[in-house]
Assembly symmetry: C2
Homo-oligomer: 361 residues x 2
C-alpha cells in the first residue's frame, strides 16, 4: 500500500497532508515547550493562546460578529440533539424539517426528552432524496432545526429559508465548505471529523441571545451551554489535541486562495466534475439525490446492481480509492469530497470510474 490512498471516507475523513505533517513536526516538542501538545496543561498560557487563535480564525472565516460565541464540546453532534432542546426551548416547542437520518435522530431525541417537537416538513415520502421547499415556520416555535447537508442521503440545502424564529443548524458535514451568511443562525454546530479536523470535538457557535434562554432544570452541568460560555470551554479539561488539529485545519483553510468563496468554488468544481460525468454515463452511475439539491460534499450514487457495486468498491480499493461504500443504512456508493480532497483526486476517481464503466458497461 502506498504512503497515502485517495481517502473518500465520510468521517473521520481525509485531512490535508500539510496538516498531518505539521502534527508530526510538532511531536514531541510543541512550540519549544519541551512537551508535546498532548501533554501541555489546558490552564497554560500556551493553550490559552492556541484556543484564542482557533476561535479568532473560525470567527474570521465565518464572518461572525461579537455577539457570537465559539464553544468546544465533546460528545459529537449527537449530544447536541439533546443540548439544543434542553437549553433553548424555555417552555416552547422546537420545529424541525426532516431531511433524513440526522434530523430524524434529533427529532427522536427531542421527543424522548418530552419537548414535543413539531415536524413542519419532511422528505421521507421519497426516501429523503429532496429538500422540502413548502412549509410554514410557526412563529411561536422555540427555534427551527435544520441539517444543512445530509451526509447519508446526499442532499444539501442550496439556500436557507427565512424564519420568524431563530434557526439551529447542524453543519457537521458542510461547515466551512461554502460562503454562507452565518449570522442568519442562532446556533450552529458541527462534529469536527468531516471538514474541520479529527473526531472528538464538536464546534458550537451560539448567538448571545440564545445563551440567555433559561435551560431546562433537568439539564446536566456538562450539557448546559452556559457552562462552556462562562469558562471559555475550560470548565473541565477540553479535548485539547482535537482543538489543536481544528486550529491547524483553520490555518490551512485560510491559506487557500479566496477564503470561503475560493473553497466553495473549488468544492463546486469537484462536485460538478463527478456529477456531470455520472449524468453522461448513460445510467451506469446513478446519483441518488434530486439534481437541484445534490450535495457538494457527499456524492451518493448507485450502480445497476448490488453485485456490480461490490465489484466497483473492491476494484476501487485495489486501485487506492478508499471509503467509497455508501452508509450501511442505504447501501450503494458515496464519494465524500470534503475540503481536504483536491480536484486532482476527483479527476483520478473519475478516470477510474470511466475505466470501470468501459470494462463492465
Amino acid at each position: 500500500m502506498s504512503l497515502r490512498i485517495d481517502n473518500f471516507n465520510p468521517g473521520p475523513a481525509a485531512l490535508p497532508l500539510p496538516v498531518i505533517e505539521k502534527i508530526k513536526e510538532d511531536l514531541p516538542n510543541f512550540q519549544q515547550t519541551g512537551m508535546s501538545v498532548l501533554e501541555i496543561s489546558h490552564r497554560s498560557d500556551k493553550f490559552d493562546e492556541l484556543l484564542a487563535e482557533t476561535i479568532t480564525r473560525l470567527k474570521r472565516l465565518m464572518g461572525l460578529g461579537d455577539d457570537y460565541r465559539v464553544l468546544f464540546i465533546q460528545g459529537g453532534a449527537s449530544l447536541q440533539f439533546a443540548m439544543a432542546p434542553l437549553n433553548l426551548c424555555d417552555g416552547g416547542r422546537p420545529a424541525f424539517i426532516d431531511t433524513g437520518t440526522w434530523s430524524t435522530k434529533a427529532i427522536e431525541q427531542a421527543e424522548k426528552l418530552g419537548f414535543e417537537p413539531e415536524v413542519i416538513a419532511s422528505s421521507a415520502d421519497r426516501g429523503f432524496c429532496y429538500i422540502p421547499d413548502e412549509f410554514e415556520v410557526p412563529s411561536d416555535a422555540a427555534y427551527l432545526h435544520l441539517v444543512s447537508n445530509n451526509t447519508i442521503k446526499g442532499t444539501q440545502w442550496q439556500s436557507f429559508p427565512r424564519s420568524p424564529v431563530p434557526m439551529v443548524v447542524d453543519m457537521s458535514s458542510d461547515i466551512l465548505s461554502r460562503a454562507v451568511d452565518h449570522e442568519q443562525f442562532g446556533l450552529i454546530f458541527a462534529g469536527a471529523q468531516k471538514n474541520l479536523g479529527p473526531a472528538g470535538v464538536c464546534v458550537v457557535i451560539i448567538r448571545e441571545d440564545m445563551l440567555e434562554r433559561k435551560a431546562h432544570p433537568a439539564t446536566p452541568i456538562m450539557l448546559n451551554y452556559a457552562t462552556y460560555a462562562e469558562k471559555n470551554s475550560l470548565y473541565n479539561t477540553p479535548p485539547s489535541f482535537a482543538i489543536y488539529v481544528v486550529g491547524l485545519m483553520l490555518a490551512w483553510i485560510e491559506d487557500q486562495a479566496g477564503g470561503l468563496v475560493g473553497i466553495e468554488a473549488q468544492n463546486l468544481a469537484k462536485a460538478k466534475l463527478l456529477y456531470d460525468f455520472m449524468d453522461e454515463s448513460e445510467g451506469f452511475y446513478r446519483p441518488t439525490a434530486e439534481k437541484e439539491v445534490r450535495s457538494a460534499m457527499n456524492v451518493t450514487f448507485r450502480l445497476a446492481s448490488e453485485e456490480l457495486e461490490s465489484q466497483f468498491l473492491a476494484e476501487a480499493l485495489d486501485q487506492g480509492f478508499g471509503g467509497l461504500k455508501g452508509h450501511r443504512s442505504v447501501g450503494g456508493c458515496r464519494a465524500s469530497i470534503y475540503n481536504a480532497i483536491s480536484l486532482d483526486q476527483v479527476e483520478r476517481l473519475v478516470a477510474f470510474m470511466r475505466g470501470f464503466a468501459g470494462r463492465k458497461g
Copy 2:
C-alpha cells in the same frame, strides 16, 4: 528549551516518550492503511481491531471478568457526575464520601438533578487533608460514590471500604497505578488525561448488573450507558485518536516489568523518595496531606511563604521542571508523578529541591 522537560503536570500530563514516538511513526500512514489514524473510519475492520485490542489489554491489566464492559465516553469525569446518578439510582438515593473538589462536584451535580445525595462522611472539616474512616454505608443506598485519589488535595484511599451496596469509583487520577481488586467496584470511570492517555476520552468500566438498572426517563441518549454498551462505544463517532493513544499507553504499561504490581512498586518508590526527602527537610517543604493517606500520584506541599513558593516555581521552571504549581483553588506546589514519570525524574527533582532549600533555608 531542550527537547523534553521534566513534566509534572497534573493532567493533561506527561506521556512516555516511546508512546509519543510511536504516534509520530504512525503518521501519515497507520499500519499500511494509506491513512493516518485520524482519518480511518470508525466502522472499518482496522478500527474494530484497535478497539478490541484496547479493551482486551485494559481488562487483562485490571483482572476483570466477562461481567465487566469497557466503554469509551466523551465529556470527561465531569459528565460521569451526571451519568452515574441518571443511570444507576432507579428510584434510590446515591451515597457519597466527600474527600474534596471532585467528590464535592459530583455531589452538587446529583443534588442539582434531584437525586438527593446522602453525604455519609466528609473530610471538609480539616480542608480535606485526610480520608474519613468512620462511616456507615446505608444498605438502601443506590450506590456508594468514592474518589480513589484526590488530585488537588493530595490524598488517596489506601484501601477501599466494604460496602453493602455497589461502589462507584472515580479513578481519574490513579487508574492503573497500583494493584487493586477492581472487581470490588460496580462502576469505575477515569478521564484518560492523567495515567491513561490524552484528554478527550473517559474510560468507563461497568458491571453487567449495573447496566441492567433502569435509567431515569430524563436521560439523554448520549448519557445512557446502554447506548454505549449496546454498540460497543460506536453509537456515534467515538474519539478515535484518543482511544488509539489509550491503546498505546496500555501496551506501554504491559511492557513494564511486573504488570500493575511492578507499576505500583515503582510508583511507591517515587513517592517515598519525595515524601521522605520533604519529611527530612526540617519543615522547609511541608506535605499537606496526612501521612497515612498521602497520594502516590499527586504530591502536594507548601513552603514557608507564598513568596518563597513563587521563587521555587520560577527556578524549577528555569531548570526544566514544569507543572509544579498547585491547583489554583488551594495554591502551593504539587508534583504529579503518574506512571509516565520515571524514578530518575523524581531523583532529579529531589536534587533540585535540595539545592533550592540549601540556598534559601
